[in-house]
Amino acid sequence: MTDTEKTTSHLTRRQALMLMGAAGATGLMGPMAIGRDRAFAANADPSGQLVLAFSQEPTVFNPLMPHIEVDEGVYYAVYDPLFDFDPSGEFFAILAADVPTVANGGISADGLNWALTLKEGVTWHDGTPFTAEDVKFSLELTMDPEFRSFRSTGYKLMKNITVVSDTELTWEMTEPFAPMAAILASTYIIPKHVFEGVADKNDSPLNTAPIGTGPFKFKNRMAGDHIELEANTDYHMDGPYLKTLIIKYVPDLNVMYTQFKSGDIDVIGLQYITPDHLAEAETLEGKVVKISGQATFESIGLNTTRPQFQELAVRQALYAAIDKTSIIDALYYGVPTPTETYMPQQSYYYNPDLPKHEFNIDKANALLDEAGWVRGADGIREKDGVKLAFSNSTTAGNHLREQAQQFIQQTFLEIGVAMEIKNLPPAVMWGDYWMNSEFDSVVVGLNTLAGADPDTSDYFMSTASPVLGGAGQNTFAYNSAKVDELLTKGALSFVPEDRKAIYQEMQAVIRHDLPFLPMFQYSVIKGWKDDVTGPAPNVNNRIDSWNVRDWKRS
């Protein structure tokens, strides 16, 4: 790990020609994958104004600080990552001149040495030139002990970040980590010069007046209402085409839909159009309404440390007793897609051959009878003093979920299982109750992926369960030696084909074990005025504005 210099040698690059490079690439990595011109092509004459509405308010403007997905809606407009995922899961370069891969020598074959070349001539919104120093600063800030960093996964493996020239930098990894590229794809680069003389980096000028390299400049913010952004006419890629972009905060989904209908909102963003409005929305004049898949999947998550859930037969019976189709069609207006796994169906790594769920009360009863769970006087099954009764929790006030719970409660009763609904306000539900696995079971929508990378160690590795003594998000306390092994193998592999086999096998193992009962993959109903072009679904990014540089009004 001392041979940093080798990363700049061209020999290893050619040898590694057949290798594909990091995280998520599905073909030979062309940085021009979606036909982007790398030369300067800023649009000199942007025009028009567009109002994009979100149902939560973006408030955190330093992208390296803890934030929620709605904040990223602003980041994509103001800042740039080095590269990003397109809808097919392939990388395209943004601030980087090329996406580093094993094939082009940006990543050494062992995954330990990285070299990055940046675009030339990029400037920050205040006119200061953008250089490799800014990238180094951003990457190092994530590990600054005084700084409230959004995350440390991946970054903590980086060391010796070296600026070779204004447009080149290299670093080493303490161990190979294939998801690193996906992490970089959601790392927005911030300007070093803004932090000069700033004593507390948590309290920098970026918090109120963000300066980025992105397609839009931050103009002003009216707290509780909107953020106004204006075109960056010096942008280093195609676009932007809009003169003004307004990000509007509309806290109620019914109100948001009404304003979309009345024309006050041009593009309806995060939390989108509720399914009950779908039929009407599709008939609206002058509006485009589209259903698009999300990376999030809904499931009944089980706390597998509970005695009720120890037996596979119980988990299988519960799964068979969920009338998925009725829930999706009757409650969710048929919008989401049934699924058997956590992996989005748009992903390269999705396993389409998993056994299909079948709603079958008789089969569920037979499974439980066979396993020796006997009905007591109250009709609830019991075995060895353990009653097949448990609570189910989710965010209180999420009406569709609450109805789904009641529906499931009824079909569970038919197989002699008592499920008590115990819903909690969001801050309580997703606090210690969730993190420390204090629940029996939950209804939860999870996105276990970081961008398009298939690694889910943080959710399914046994060492990632706080209740089993680890650290991470494995709140189902899933503990499978096989899955641990596959996850470890997958994170060490930089070849997409190899990784595909690993992660497909893992999906099969999890589908068999059922630590969670998969229900459906989220779909959302997006809408925009028909004179707007550009909005495009991208399951690999968390929010709609990932390509806001391309949006225009005709």
Binding site: E146, I246, P251, Q259
Partner: protein
Amino acid sequence: MLRYILSRLGQSLILLLIVSFIGFAVLTLAPGGPLSQFALSPGMTQEQIDKIAEQMGLNRPLWVQYIDWFTHMITGDWGTSYRDGQPVLHVIGSHLFATLLLMGTATTLSVSIGSSIGILSAIRRGSLFDTTMTIAAMIALSIPTFWFGLIAIYIFSLNLGWLPAGNMYNIGDQSVLDYLRHLILPASVLALVDVAIWSRYMRTSTLNVINQDFVRTARAKGLSSRRVLLKHIVGNSLVPMITLAGLQVPMVLGGALVTETVFTWPGMGRLFLDSLGYSDYPVVMGLLMASALLVLIGNLAADLLIAQIDPRVRLD
């Protein structure tokens, strides 16, 4: 008088201290906390959350956090919002204009219209006008504001297209006329319910006065009914209203959550709810202290005013 004011202020300080302590305890003891919103973020680990909690001082004992907050508060440093990193007073200030505009307009409308209706109803007690207004007030009071707001949007924005469906102004316009156009619907919706309340109070208060001896005396000595009404009835029936108006002060600044939500009006009500939802302790505490202060000031002002107006009341 001065002694009275000083002793009231002294009591107020003790009350504020108690309010702040209870508020802080309830807020911070509630499960969840400002970091739980990140729990479902991809890549967020418990380790990272613990680290941030330590950096923000959230893992210190509650009483330490309270004393820290309190000593800063009394020196004028109300802390920084967890949500957007801005000083609390700045956050509150940035929502103040919107709230004052909406609530000021609505309150002015409702007090003036409501009082007039109340007086007219009282002096024409049992008339068609009185009955109609009584029924109208009951209806207005029973309709939930959000429903009324949505119906108003449906009729005046979506169908007739006369008025905007929400927001405080059109970005890029922001002329006085533009603000007014946006103000009409939310202010009317808010005023409607308040008109009903004020008219009922005013009617009762006026009826009490009408039957007093001095009114009969005034009539008996031959004053015109107009003069009796303006000089003797209205003035006296307004006295109890002053206390109510004093209690209204914090309401005016507290905003109207439901109306603000329906009309996407960036006021205090929504700020409070959003801050509560994010467990933004400094801002919630700031709003709590500000409204407690206003309640106390409003009450004190009302009491002092009544003492000035009503010679029967002495404050010694």
